[in-house]
């Protein structure tokens, strides 16, 4: 899945990330014994076989609820979590292979490490509370640009502060993170990531912890820096509106995740205007409007789902994983996981409904009361 005609920067192939810890005792038991007695525990999968390509200078937003595996996917993509199966390729090379071998061909592990950066959701926790801002920002500079003198670093940091509105800049140099507001902290985290001129930045819910009025500022800053540095962004969020703001202005794509799989992916405008997967449609429905009358209606409405509680990755439903809650589920959905179908250029969804000729249409709805309608969401303007 990659947009036609661009250079692929990062490629995730059949990525699986498991979690689950065996106790020390079980760890010591030999594998054969476990198999013999059937003590094998199936580790739960946070990411269940995801393939995704990100091109240079592209913005891809990954949307999902908690438990969808989106954060794990993101961290695996930037090499902070090791996959259990599948691979993460940076410019063609598997980064964990690269790490072991230090260098493959022209590509060094160092290049990959520097090119993949992260911004966290909680800006307070992402800055070392024991160091001043100057120290925090100087480290990566000295590490990756050893030709810079201390004075160079200081000037560069001052310039950056002024650029992003942290003035008087000399004041901020000596401040500790706790002396900054949340918005300022996040700005510092952002510039720290951009300082090393990465190729791709994982933004993990970068604005969810900020006040609404600050969110726009930060997202604008991200977009600006993205243009300046020609960086790709992988945005992970549970809020479609954030994804919409960033991805739209960058002509980006959006991928919707459910229980460790991507269920729909496409350009942001297409997916929002014409969502193919019922889960995407339900998520769009759940966005709260500002107008009081529409808001009241939405509050009182029953969500268009068969079941309200989300399943967890340790207990996956068979067949299409969404079928237990899907308002459009039919018999075949419980049997087999639908394959990914391309509905239009660059737009894919994993749902039987995309295939007009499929058996699905002949089956009865799984819900006793028939198919649950998903109310039309007014067009995202």
């Amino acid at each position: 899945m990659s947009p036609a005609g661009s250079d692929t920067l990062l490629s995730l192939e059949d990525l699986v990330v498991e979690y689950g810890d065996e106790t020390a005792i079980m760890n010591a038991v030999p594998q054969r014994v476990k198999e013999r007695f059937g003590w094998e525990s199936d580790p739960a999968r946070a990411v269940d076989g995801v393939s995704l390509d990100v091109a240079e200078e592209e913005v891809v937003a990954v949307i999902g609820e908690s438990g969808s595996g989106k954060t794990t996917l993101g961290k695996a993509a930037v090499g902070l979590e090791e996959p259990s199966e599948g691979s993460v390729r940076y410019r063609g090379e598997d980064i964990w292979e690269l790490k072991r071998k230090r260098q493959i061909g022209d590509l060094e592990y160092q290049d990959a490490r520097r090119s993949l950066q992260i911004i966290h959701q909680d800006p307070g926790a992402s800055l070392n509370p024991y160091k001043t801002l100057q120290t925090i920002l100087k480290r990566p500079l000295r590490r990756w640009f050893p030709e810079l003198t201390h004075a160079d670093c200081r000037e560069r940091i001052l310039g950056i502060f002024r650029e992003v509105g942290l003035t008087p800049a000399t004041d901020y140099l000596e401040r500790y993170p706790h002396e900054l507001s949340g918005g300022e902290q996040q700005r510092v985290a952002l510039v720290r990531a951009m300082l090393v001129e990465p190729d791709l930045v994982l933004a993990d819910e970068p604005v969810s912890a900020l006040d609404p009025s600050l969110r726009i500022s930060l997202m604008d800053l991200m977009l600006d820096l993205r243009e300046t540095f020609e960086t790709s962004f992988l945005l992970v969020s549970h809020n479609i509106q954030h994804a919409r703001y960033i991805a739209s202005q960058a002509d980006g794509r959006i991928a919707v995740m459910y229980l460790g799989n991507i269920v729909e992916i496409g350009s942001i405008d297409e997916v929002l205007q014409d969502p193919k997967h019922p889960y995407t449609q339900v998520l769009l429905w759940a966005s709260l409007p500002r107008n009081p009358d529409s808001a009241v209606e939405k509050l009182q409405a029953e969500p268009p789902l068969r079941e309200s509680n989300a399943p967890d990755a340790a207990n996956r439903p068979g067949g299409c994983q969404f079928h237990t809650r899907c308002p459009k589920a039919r018999a075949v959905c419980a049997d087999e996981m639908p394959p990914v179908e391309t509905t239009s250029v660059g737009h894919e969804a994993a749902c039987y409904r995309t295939d007009d000729a499929h058996q699905y249409w002949k089956d009865a709805p799984l819900d006793d009361e028939g198919e649950i309608p998903i109310p039309e969401v007014p067009d995202q303007i």
Binding site: E65, S66, G67, S181, G182, G183, E184, S208, A209, D211, P212, S213, L214, R215, I216, S217, D220, H238, N239, I240, Q241, H242, R244, Y245, S248, Q249, V282, L283, L284, A286, S287, L288, P289, R290, N291, P292, D293, S294, A295, V296, E297, K298, L299, Q300, A301, E302, P303, L305, S308, A310, V377, P378, Q380, I381
Partner: protein, 356 residues
């Protein structure tokens, strides 16, 4: 510097007051100077209504919520008074001055608070059941009767009482924790529920569901709700009246329809544009420049003037009072509300009268 609100002029049919806040200020002495996190605020809360308090982090909104339960801890100093009018009628009780025994009775039995989603409001070392039984003991309620009520409370919020009571807080999802907190708050059938960002950080579907349940509960129990949030869409469906906080005081106040659809204060108008939503086009989104006010160093004159697009010299020197606007629909604290309406676009949703 009183920013007081005269309830007769809001146009709402005069209703019973359940909480009266009079000239309340909260100050802290910090190393950098005296921080005033609530600045002489006055407000009346009507019985059975939902009052939305909109503000951002550092506007004083959470402190306002705490004050309603006299929950401001040392070294914060609260001045002014908060009067609570019990349902049975009779003398109002001054929450800030009453004995701690009486306060304990009022807290939870009359006024309960649900705090931010994701905050550690549960003790991780004890089971949820213990949380309930501890509360019962503190309020002289028998364990069995209390637990029965607890189970009812949990069931109303679509939670399995057996599972929840036995669980520890880390075993619950974010949405479940919030609903459990809500159940705990409602277990004594309080009259007033104070909610401080109850849906912060929750998934979209979980949020919709929680808000829907809140809506139903309010109808069923005739609750008075004080709903504090920084997210306008969250309160849009509930609010009867809206109070907007900026720099530790109220800058606009009135009926929800007025404030949400045609506000007059520059900050409120700008805030509407800075909120993302499905019903706002991306072109209309604007950020608010500048940074939030510092409690030790609030700007002179009108505290918003440093970030206000229509501010002039008068705004930098004089401080506006909260008073009724010309049409008498709501109260604003601004010298030029008409200019604000004329020059600052507002996006309140498709039904809004003055949308671009």
């Amino acid at each position: 510097m009183t920013a007081s609100v005269n309830t007769e002029r809001t146009g709402v049919a005069s209703q019973e007051t359940v909480l009266e806040v009079r000239d309340v200020s909260v100050t802290y002495d910090t190393a950098r100077g005296r921080a005033r996190v609530l600045d002489d605020v006055s407000l009346d809360v009507h019985r059975g209504e939902t009052l939305a308090v909109i503000g951002e982090s550092g506007s004083g909104k959470s402190t306002f919520g705490s004050v309603l339960m006299d929950g401001v801890e040392d070294p914060g100093i609260t001045s002014g008074e908060v009067l609570y009018y019990p349902e049975s009628g009779g003398e109002p009780v001054d929450i800030t001055g009453v004995s701690s025994r009486k306060l304990r009775q009022i807290r939870w039995e009359e006024i309960a608070i649900v705090s931010q989603a994701g905050s550690n409001s549960f003790n991780p070392a004890i089971s949820i059941r213990r949380h309930f039984t501890d509360t019962f003991r503190a309020h002289d309620v028998s364990r069995e009767a209390g637990l029965e009520r607890a189970r009812e409370s949990l069931r109303e919020l679509d939670l399995n009482p057996q599972r929840i009571l036995n669980a520890y807080q880390h075993e619950l999802s974010g949405g479940e924790k919030q609903r459990t907190q809500l159940a705990l708050a409602l277990v004594f059938d309080p009259n007033v529920l104070v909610l401080d960002e109850p849906t912060a950080g929750l998934d979209l579907l979980v949020q919709q569901r929680l808000l829907g349940q809140l809506y139903d509960l309010q109808e069923e129990y005739d609750l008075t709700m004080v709903f504090i949030s920084h997210d306008i869409p969250v309160v849009a469906g509930f609010a009867d009246r809206v109070a907007v906080m900026y720099a530790f005081e109220f800058v606009e106040f009135g009926d929800a329809a007025d404030i949400l659809l045609s506000p007059e204060h520059p900050y409120t108008r700008l805030l509407s544009q800075a909120n993302l939503g499905p019903d706002i086009s991306l072109d209309a989104v604007r950020r608010i420049g500048g940074d939030p006010p510092d409690p030790v160093n609030v700007p002179s004159g009108c505290p918003f003037h440093t970030r206000c697009p229509i501010a002039d010299d008068r705004c930098a020197e004089e401080k506006p009072e909260l008073r009724a606007d010309e049409a008498d629909t709501h109260e604003v604290s601004c010298f030029y509300p008409d200019t604000a309406v004329a020059e600052i676009p507002h996006s309140g949703g498709p039904a809004s009268g003055d949308e671009q």
